[in-house]
């Protein structure tokens, strides 16, 4: 494409197929304790 460069694809949609195991980290347990960010966490199934 001339005008658009794709950085990454539809990863969120793809994750719906295999997600939901509940084994991943509780977001507040990492470094924040006062805000909520989940996008920087790892999926346990991808490790």
């Amino acid at each position: 494409m001339k005008h658009i460069k794709t950085l990454n694809g539809a990863t969120l949609k793809q994750s719906a197929c295999s997600g939901g195991c509940g084994e991943c980290q509780t977001s507040c347990q990492s470094a924040c304790k006062t805000s909520c960010t989940v996008a920087n966490q790892q999926c346990e199934q991808q490790k």
Partner: protein
């Protein structure tokens, strides 16, 4: 839903429902910005949009074809109908994470402390091992089929309850296999009581450790004096450096708080990274009820956003430094189901006090309206837990309109309650800061990948 934005001078489009991210040229950015609220793209650019733009119809047509191509490939204007909001509703969720407040006491008197300088307004106490043991038994009983169990030693200052910390780790390790569990311990400390033995133990047993430091000496010492009014920087920094040097590749964060009094946090992050050598750094805004003298409020938002942008520019060419909020995994982050529900406070995640009382998270401790039970009595208010279970991006009205909902997963329930008196109404200031951090993080990825300048 598409979100177009510019961060670090980089024009970007995020397709909210699919997670796809595109780097745009200026013309495409200006075209897409006009139609980002559309549910889908018509075959050609609407005439009224064409007339608003300073480009020829031929130029717009060329851009439009590329946008349509992405839409047809499932990378733009993806609908949310592949998501079932019911996925986010977990009834009687297992409890799998504990914030163990082993010490309701502290040897620092941080001016912005949400825990009333350590005791949560409930009197200074240390958790006896019997209570910690009951908490471990509680989470084993309540965690169902979950294998990974997280326990964060918190306070107050958890090193003031060191004996309890060690006995708790040893107890949990002694029974985890027979129950099919894997305990992951973390500790959040102010560093004042760190010594060789504690460092070695933390580096051996703790999956992550969070080391509190507010950056530059003058900032840290103003924010974080000892009970005697002395600065803490000179005592804690060498200890943190020694601990980190012995940590190998295990996780850690040097974590600070910025406030209305010291809002120029980019300099504090760079001080921790460059002058002190810490590679994993995080800072958070001070939070509090309206009128709090330290909390970042709407008035400080423009300056705080500018600081994040400044920090992003400084860190852009420093991949060796991991700033917590600029690390966003676009490819292998959590699944969309996790992203609908967030931290799990009050359902999967609870805080336990030295008396064994259970609260939805550390930020609710001491608020009797939110006391959920007690680990000694094995009581747990499932009705209250289900109120928290029901919180997700589909039950919080503000989230349904927000492009960042799959990255913060609805924000902090305690933050919403403290600011708005409503668990389901996220704190606006926190949301605005989160959106800014995410824009910076995505732009940094785009530029680092070579797709943008």
């Amino acid at each position: 839903m598409v979100h177009t934005f510019t961060a670090l001078d980089c024009p970007i489009a995020l397709d909210v429902n699919s997670g796809a991210v595109h780097v745009l040229d200026e013309m495409t950015y200006n075209v897409l910005r006009q139609v980002e609220h559309y549910e889908s793209l018509p075959d050609t650019c609407p005439e009224r949009v064409v007339q608003r733009l300073p480009y020829s119809p031929e130029e717009i047509d060329e851009v439009w074809k590329e946008l349509k191509e992405l839409e047809q490939a499932g990378l733009l204007f993806v609908k949310s109908d592949y998501i079932d909001p019911e996925w986010a509703v977990v009834k009687d969720a297992p409890v799998k994470a504990l914030c163990l407040n082993v010490a309701h006491d502290c040897n620092l008197r941080c001016k912005y402390c949400f825990a009333s300088t350590g005791d949560f307004g409930t009197g200074r106490k240390i958790m006896p091992f019997e209570t910690a043991k009951a908490a471990i038994d509680f989470v084993i009983r309540r965690s169902g089929k979950r294998h990974n169990i997280e326990v964060d030693f918190f306070g107050g200052e958890p090193l003031m309850a060191w004996d309890t910390v060690k006995k708790t780790v040893e107890y949990a390790r002694s029974i985890e296999k027979e129950h099919g569990k894997n305990f992951r311990f973390t500790i959040t400390t102010n560093g004042m009581l760190l010594d060789e033995e504690k460092m070695e133990y933390i580096n051996r047993e703790m999956k992550n450790c969070v080391l509190s430091l507010d950056g530059r000496k003058e900032v840290n010492d103003d924010h974080r004096p000892t009970a005697g009014g002395q600065g803490s920087y000179d005592r804690i920094v060498p200890r943190y450096q020694k601990l980190v040097a012995g940590r190998g590749d295990k996780e850690y964060y040097v974590r600070g708080t910025y406030t209305k009094v010291h809002p120029d946090f980019a300099a504090d992050v760079m001080h921790a990274a460059d002058d002190l050598g810490f590679k994993n750094v995080s800072v958070e805004p001070a939070t509090g009820k309206p009128g709090d003298p330290f909390a970042i409020t709407e008035a400080e938002l423009p300056a705080a956003k500018a600081e994040y942008e400044k920090l992003a520019r400084e860190l852009l060419h420093r991949p060796d430094i991991n700033f917590f909020h600029f690390f966003v995994d676009l490819e292998q982050g959590p699944c969309v189901i996790k992203r609908m529900r967030g931290c799990g406070a009050g359902s999967e995640y609870v805080a336990v006090t030295p008396e064994g009382d259970i609260y939805p998270c550390h930020q609710f401790v001491g608020n009797e309206d939110f006391r959920m039970g007690n680990v000694h009595e094995d009581t747990f208010d499932q009705e209250l837990a289900n109120q928290f279970n029901a919180l997700n991006i589909y039950t919080k009205p503000a989230c349904q309109e927000c492009w960042a909902r799959f990255y913060c997963s609805g924000g902090c329930a305690a933050g919403g309650y403290n600011v708005n008196g409503d668990l389901a109404e996220p704190a606006y200031v926190a949301c605005e800061l989160e959106r800014k951090r995410l824009e910076c993080a995505i732009a940094m990825k785009a530029i680092r990948s070579g797709l943008a300048d």
